[in-house]
């Protein structure tokens, strides 16, 4: 078997690994500068501003097309969320009512809370460990 230092596949993998490390280190160094933060946030801010303007335009467009606006959809989502919450509450109540039934999951007999750790894993009496 060829040793790893002369195996072309191993050399290729090593090269990729080294390139990854090198590029990450270089990028991290670049991204640590205040100039990078300024440029990144300026670009991000411009994008966010454009998105907001586009959103406002879409709101007006949807209104003119007699389609529901975002606010109306959010309102519907809130109502659906309330309904979901109520369904979950009902489900929980039903599960509690079935607590006596021997089905898996809710209501199934639970194991006793008597487990003790093996002797070797008892906690130290007190004190800080590091």
């Amino acid at each position: 078997m060829a040793d790893k230092s002369s195996d072309p596949v191993a050399l290729w993998q090593k090269m990729i690994g080294e390139m990854e490390k090198g590029f990450n280190a270089f990028a991290n160094q670049t991204m640590s500068s205040p100039e990078f933060s300024k440029a990144m946030n300026q670009a991000g801010g411009a994008t966010t501003g454009a998105q907001r303007q586009f959103g406002e335009f879409m709101e007006k467009y949807l209104l003119s097309m007699n389609l529901p606006s975002r606010a109306q959809m959010v309102g519907m989502a809130e109502r659906l969320q309330n309904i979901e919450g109520q369904i979950n509450e009902i489900r929980a109540m039903l599960q509690q009512m079935n607590a006596g039934a021997a089905t898996p999951g809710f209501g199934a007999p639970r194991p006793p809370r008597t487990k003790r750790p093996p002797p070797s894993s008892a906690p130290p009496s007190s004190g800080e460990q590091k």
Binding site: M1, A2, D3, S5, S6, D7, P8, V9, Q13, I16, M19, E20, F23, N24, N28, M31, S32, S33, P34, F36, S37, K38, M40, N41, Q42, G45, T48, G49, Q51, R52, R70, V74, A77, E78, Q81, G85, N88, R91, A92, Q95, P104, G105, F106, R110, P111, R113, K115, R116, P117, P118, S120, S121, A122, P123, P124, S126, G127, E128, Q129, K130
Partner: protein, 360 residues
């Protein structure tokens, strides 16, 4: 006889044959890769104990004949899905805990909806976690609860433990939890208060989109995505590698949006003013100083964590008020500390040996 490069000439035909076979396998498996879905994740049997908006509380069904008295509540990071701790059978932290006799609950998150953009830090710390703890106590019939927080779930658990320091939390375990946010150098630079208009962002977008969260994580190691795809192609003949790649890749890209007001507080109080480290943090007007935490605490950190560097996490143990406290540094990165083959050998047994004796 050796070639000048040191390559054993006798091995060359065998090596060529092996590479040709792998090349054929790559072609076949490459087609398979794109035509099949990945393994099913998060399949350990569980029940939804409670769901409210972005919050889900699960109870996992027991897998042992007897359990420890004290139940365990896992608080997941708000940026990611909880199934990182429940990948597939044999590689599931949840399954491990259940088989070792713990009664396990998880507070997991779904994407906050647009109308949940106003969720604040106090909703998470003073409402969601206490609500879940109360429900765990009711469901288990026990007064004490051990809490495990992963990454930012650890931060939320610390804040909860600081404020509710007279119980019912019995033990606290934090995985890779930052407290000194100045030391998260790149995140700190990305959110430099001179240039980052967090108010403008939150007021514009409501919830912070997952693409932005994912990009900020990926920018920490910008070459790694390409390198991992090259690695995938090289190893696509290897079913185990592909399975593991798909699990982790799916989870890593399944990032959650963050509620806008919550993100605003994280940026201002933690990233800018470093209040958790300085002991000046308040949540909903209530002081949250980790020096007030007195319960036994274990903090597990990863040696090669690029998201939460050790410098950002190392003061946690020194600053909490507990007498019984321990930090353990293990090999691995931010994710491989808690999931995958590395975690199976290192973190999970360590956690079991620490928590078992404290769960009776």
């Amino acid at each position: 006889m050796n070639a000048p490069s040191g390559l054993d000439l006798a091995d060359i035909p065998e090596r060529i044959q092996s590479e040709v076979q792998r090349a054929i396998q790559r072609s076949i498996k490459g087609v398979e890769y794109f035509s099949t879905s990945g393994p099913t994740l998060g399949s350990t049997p569980k029940d939804i104990l409670h769901a409210r908006g972005t919050m889900n509380l699960y109870h996992y069904r027991p897998l042992s004949d007897e359990v420890y008295r004290v139940p365990v509540l896992i608080v997941m990071a708000t940026t990611n899905r909880g199934y990182i701790l429940d990948m597939v059978p044999g590689q599931s932290f949840i399954e491990f805990l259940l088989k070792r006799g713990y009664d396990v609950y998880m507070l997991d998150w779904t994407a906050p909806r647009p109308e949940e953009k106003s969720l604040r830090m106090e909703d998470y710390v003073l409402d969601f976690i206490p609500d879940c703890v109360r429900r765990v106590r009711e469901d288990s019939g026990e007064q004490d609860v051990s809490v495990i927080g992963y990454c930012f779930g650890g931060v939320l658990s610390l804040l909860y433990g600081s404020i509710f320091n007279d119980g019912p939390m019995k033990n606290l375990i934090c995985f890779t939890t930052p407290i000194d946010f100045r030391e998260m150098k790149l995140f700190s630079n990305f959110s430099d208060r001179r240039y980052f208009d967090v108010d403008g962002l939150v007021d514009s977008v409501g919830n912070v989109p997952p693409e932005m969260i994912l990009s900020s994580f990926e920018m920490l190691r910008p070459a790694s995505r390409v390198a991992s795809q090259i690695q995938l192609w090289e190893n696509i003949w290897n079913d185990e590698f592909v399975k593991s790649y798909r699990m982790f890749d799916r989870w890593a890209t399944d990032t959650l949006p963050l509620a806008g007001e919550y993100f605003r507080t994280i940026t201002k109080d933690l990233m800018w003013d470093n209040k958790l480290y300085n002991g000046t943090m308040t949540v909903g007007g209530r002081k949250a100083d980790i020096a007030d935490i007195k319960v036994p605490i274990l903090h597990a950190v990863a040696e090669h964590d690029h998201i939460v560097p050790y410098e950002a996490a190392k003061h946690l143990i020194a600053k909490v008020g507990s007498q019984d406290k321990e930090e353990v540094m293990l090999k691995g990165g931010h994710v491989s500390l808690v999931a995958g083959a590395n975690a199976v050998k290192r973190l999970w047994p360590k956690l079991d040996s620490w928590l078992g004796g404290r769960s009776i």
